[in-house]
């Protein structure tokens, strides 16, 4: 029996995107996925801290040493919900094949995300979720982002990665991969807010913009302020206040339940007929 963890949205995310190279096919079609070799993987982590505040980190791993790279990517995915766009159909299987190429079988983070079924909470493929698990086909990341005012694939395209790598522009590929994870994170904030009916979750996008500005990440500058920033900023602040109220409520109930030393005199008087 499949069990879905749909009740609350994830609070520890690892947004994954990889760039690959593959030998071209005779008819110039997209090469079969097992033939793709990862060259860069970017992981953007977002961990929810107290009072609705998110903490972000971004790391790109190059596959000069495939075994080390797989180990590092797997470590970054560990204990987090892996989020991606078409990761079930491409990124995770391609990483799994790369791990097996290097006879590296001890990578718990990658393994858990790769084997997670499409309804589980360990891995959320946004393409699956947004298309109702294949019910509405034909969308891609750029198309969805354009509709939602999220900048996406402005500097490069996945089809140019081979050329860029051949001309020694590995840094540019990493920056492109990072911008894709940023777009995916923004999309995830909106999709998961709607999916879990938790509007303040979309405040994640606003906080990511603040982090980009604080870090001075010029290649992600477009994500500082989305066109819908006013509402996203508001939701972010409402999220902070709601968590504060929830924490206070929790403490007030604890005091009521246990009458701990030092408990609020206001509370005591409010419940004096019961205590």
């Amino acid at each position: 029996m499949f069990r879905s963890n749909d009740m609350s949205p994830p609070t520890s995310l690892a947004v994954l995107d990889i760039e690959t190279v593959a030998a071209t096919t005779e008819d110039n079609s997209f090469p079969p996925w097992p033939t793709h070799r990862p060259v860069v993987a970017s992981v953007l982590t977002a961990d929810r801290r107290r009072y609705g505040q998110w903490q972000f980190e971004l790391e790109s791993v190059t596959f000069d040493d495939g075994r080390c790279a797989i180990e590092r990517v797997s470590h970054l995915l560990e204990r987090r919900t892996v989020i991606g766009f078409n990761t079930r159909g491409f990124d995770l299987p391609a990483l799994a094949v790369e791990a097996m190429r290097h006879q590296h079988f001890d990578c718990a983070g990658l393994s858990l995300a790769w084997r997670a079924n499409r309804y589980s909470g360990n891995h959320v493929d946004l393409l699956d979720v947004i298309s109702s698990f294949g019910g509405a086909r034909g969308a891609n990341l750029a198309m969805l982002c354009a509709e939602l005012g999220i900048p996406c694939k402005v500097d490069a395209h996945g089809s140019e990665v081979g050329e860029m790598m051949a001309s020694g522009k590995a840094d540019a590929v990493a920056r492109y991969c990072e911008s894709d994870t940023a777009a995916t994170l923004c999309l995830a904030g909106m999709v998961l807010a709607l999916r879990h009916n938790e509007p303040t979750y979309a405040g994640l996008v606003s906080q990511f913009g603040v982090w980009v500005r604080e870090r001075g990440l010029k290649h992600l500058a477009a994500y500082q302020r989305l066109p819908s920033h006013a509402e996203l900023d508001r939701l972010s602040l409402v999220g902070i206040v709601e968590e504060g109220i929830e924490a206070l409520d929790h403490r007030l109930h604890l005091q009521w339940a246990t009458n701990v030393p030092g408990a609020s005199s206001v509370t005591k008087s409010a419940f004096s007929d019961i205590l």
């Binding site: 906080q207 006013a230 509402e231 109220i245 206070l248 007030l252 701990v260 206001v266």
Partner: protein
């Protein structure tokens, strides 16, 4: 984006806390509110604006609940919150001390704060890539002291009050300049502001 009829501009001052990881620096996120200036600006039907300013300093050292209550007093569902790094302001307000005598009051204050977030807030931090320049320039334009880079300390309450008040006023001026293009007849609010400031100074 239009200029809102009721805004409350908050200029906060925080007590910095040592980084819990023992790096010898201040924590970027863990900040505690120690003082604030709140400038409430209300536009009436005739197009005039009315100002009310309060500056509060926590001189008890136990921070938060009292300040939180005072800060949220003028807020209503129509208020547009304006501030500098509002995310830090709000996160610091959530850190109400444990076992406080006034937690129930604090909850009411937070509910009032949430009510004010019905309107989209404005963070002056986003006005420019170097917001201090913009805010200092707005202050100078209106004959206010440019006090955004001056250190604030509650050990000297008169200076602390004057600095935070000037910051709140310059933030308001910068928001008006941002939201009302030159030539907008509503810019006569600046005349009301000058009149109010002269009276307030005389008092």
């Amino acid at each position: 984006m239009s200029y809102p009829p009721k805004i409350t501009v908050i200029a906060p001052h925080f007590r910095m806390v040592d980084d819990p990881r023992g790096t010898g620096t201040h924590s970027a996120r863990l900040v505690l509110l120690e003082a604030f200036a709140a400038l409430t600006v209300l536009a009436d039907d005739q197009g005039h604006v009315h100002f009310r300013q309060q500056v509060e300093i926590d001189d008890t050292g136990d921070q938060s609940v009292d300040l939180l209550r005072k800060l949220t007093r003028p807020l209503t569902a129509e208020t547009v919150l304006v501030g500098f790094r509002l995310d830090h302001v709000l996160a610091s307000l959530m850190r109400v001390p444990r076992d406080s005598e006034h937690e129930a009051e604090a909850k009411n204050a937070l509910l009032r704060l949430k009510l004010a977030l019905n309107q989209a807030p404005i963070d002056a931090w986003w006005l420019a890539s170097k917001p201090f320049l913009v805010l200092n320039a707005a202050a100078i334009q209106f004959g206010l002291p440019a006090r955004w880079e001056e250190p604030v300390t509650v050990a000297n309450p008169p200076v602390c009050r004057a600095t935070l008040a000037a910051r709140a006023q310059s933030m308001w001026a910068a928001i008006v300049a941002d939201r009302m293009p030159a030539g907008d007849p509503r810019r006569r609010t600046f005349a009301d502001f000058d009149r109010w400031r002269t009276t307030a100074t005389q008092l």
